[in-house]
Amino acid sequence: MIKLVALIPLFPLLGFIINGFFGKKISKNASGWIASFSVFASFVVSVLIFIELKGNHDMNSHIVPLFSWINSDTLKIPFEFLVDPLSSWFLLIITGIGFLIHIYSMGYMHDDEGFARFFTYLNLFVFFMLLLVLGNNYLIMFVGWEGVGLCSYLLIGFWFKNTAYNNAAKKAFIMNRVGDLGFLLGIILIFITFGSVSFNDVFAIASSGNNATVTAIALLLFIGAMGKSAQLPLYTWLPDAMAGPTPVSALIHAATMVTAGIYMIVRSNVFYSMSEEASQVVAIVGVATALFAATIGLFQNDIKKVLAYSTVSQLGLMFLGLGVGAYSSSVFHVTTHAFFKALLFLGAGSVIHAMGGEQDMRKMGGLWKHLPITGKVMAIGTLAISGFPLLSGFFSKDEILAHTYEHSQTLWFFGQIASILTAFYMFRLFFLTFFGKFRGTHEQEHHLHESPASMTIPLIVLAILSVFGGLLGLPEFWGTSNWFHHHLDPIIAHKNPIILSHTKEWTLMIIATLAALATIFFAYMVYIKNKVLPEANDAKLTGVKKLIYNKYYVDEIYDALIRKPLDVIAIAFYKFMDLQFVDGIVNGVGSAVNGVSSVVKKGQTGHIGFYIFGMVLGIIAILFFTFIK
């Protein structure tokens, strides 16, 4: 079965081709089912491959060569797929959650005129994402990396008639280019240093690289990850990316694409465990992002924006885990986060669907009785992300924080604060949306309805996964075996088990739990008991609130620091270089030719005798200069 791994990306590619070329000719139902089924087929193959991989104890890394891709002198890059615990796990996440979101989209996008186009892009995205995780070298990964960026651009700007959405799409694309350049330079440096970009070749000889080079490689790759996974300072595109349809936010900007950076760093963990400095940078950027985004999340009123900042913050937490060497814990958090964040986004989508497109939480409230299923699954998702005991987020977040504590107590403190803030703003979102009085218009209230089954069934499945996902990686100090760590162990070069005493671990877990519960209670007091509502008028905000509500003015700062100077330089170049210099040369050549020809053409009399005379003179001159000189 492992030999057939190429089928996994092939199915979505087929779906893409069918929907892309014939989407307008077939019915909406057909195109939705073709897209969903292609992803489901990939999911089935992924499960079979995963089972085969687990059944085979001696071999946990299989390279499946497909063809020779680039073959020139020293640059030989085969097109190979790699099936190992890490890639097979990501395959399950991508195809599994991807399938659920495809089903959900059939309900959510039902009335959209671009239905087939939507599924075309979605299938293409899944194809590139699978390519990204399956490739056995950095170049295939890069192709997938760029491909998912392209699909992200297409899907953010899906409703292309809206200029703001198009701008958000461009912003995402351009921000990602910055990171991609870092990634590309990293790949080039890897090739120069090790003479290959294939994972197995590079990692086998990675220890021969000197520390400075390895640090440079690790940092360049991390710049790539910063862009794709929305870390400081390249995170600003992700909140804007919420312009896309909600299923896109769930699939691309929460569950899969934004975790590509984490996948890439875990894949390259050899470099990061060799370079203490690079790991330190990853950890600090991670925790700073987690904290920064969490504070912004506190005062956002757009339901999707809150979730977007929450995603940035959670990704920061994962990078914190990577920075302290807890690679498998981070992948574990990627997994649980994929469950509950996809759930939350899809739940938010269900709310938006019921509200007729309204995203402002100030106009929601009291939806619990109108949307019973959505309300319950949102409650589960909110509890899971807040770290409520025994739900999935509780285990994965605790694992990362325990590793962090071992590494540095300062980082742990900030990570813990970020997770407390997460609990607060998530419950703020939950209470504002589902409790209190309905604050929208009468028309909206009349329109409120639970979403169709195609939307609620994926929600229920994801809710179940969010509840039980934590069982994959029960902490070792509970006396259970941590299945997830054992699964990923083979691909981690430098294993890093927690060596804290059991009392310490219990203490940390209890602190985290109490903090989460206290925060939930606090949010309850604020938003249910005291019925605090966000300020309806943005302009009335003052002080810190205003600063945070405006996202610390980061967009404006970037605008002033980067865009404006670029504009000024561009205008200067246009005026002086383009209009004067380049145009001057081009027009000068033209008028020079014109002037010379107006003189020379007088010699063209049309009299043959004159021409012959000229010819004879010429021949004499040639003879004269050749023989006499």
Binding site: T605, G609, I612
Partner: protein, 103 residues
């Protein structure tokens, strides 16, 4: 020495013939005369080739002469056809009339 005549004489004769041809081409306006002058130049060259061919006992010079004669015959055939067309259009073969290609 060639049949008792120095090679210099051959060279001078062909040079004189050639210059007469050049001057004729430049100075005359009658197309037929110009044609004849061109033939004169060709034959000046032919004479030179034959003279040197005999001097060096090398037949390839004479082969060239045959080629030149063949090409000249073809050229005359085409040229005279053109001339007869010119005459039909202009009722004259004065080449100064043929100045429509200017500018």
């Amino acid at each position: 020495m060639l049949n008792g005549i120095p090679i210099n004489f051959y060279i001078m004769l062909s040079a004189v013939l050639f210059i007469i041809g050049v001057i004729g081409v430049m100075a005359r306006r009658n197309a037929i005369i110009i044609f004849m002058c061109i033939e004169l130049m060709l034959n000046a060259v032919n004479l030179l080739l034959v003279a040197f061919s005999t001097l060096h006992n090398d037949a390839s010079g004479q082969v060239f002469v045959f080629f030149i004669m063949a090409v000249a015959a073809a050229e005359v055939a085409v040229g005279l056809a053109i001339l007869s067309m010119v005459y039909r259009n202009f009722k004259s073969i004065d080449i100064d009339l043929l100045s429509r290609l200017k500018n």
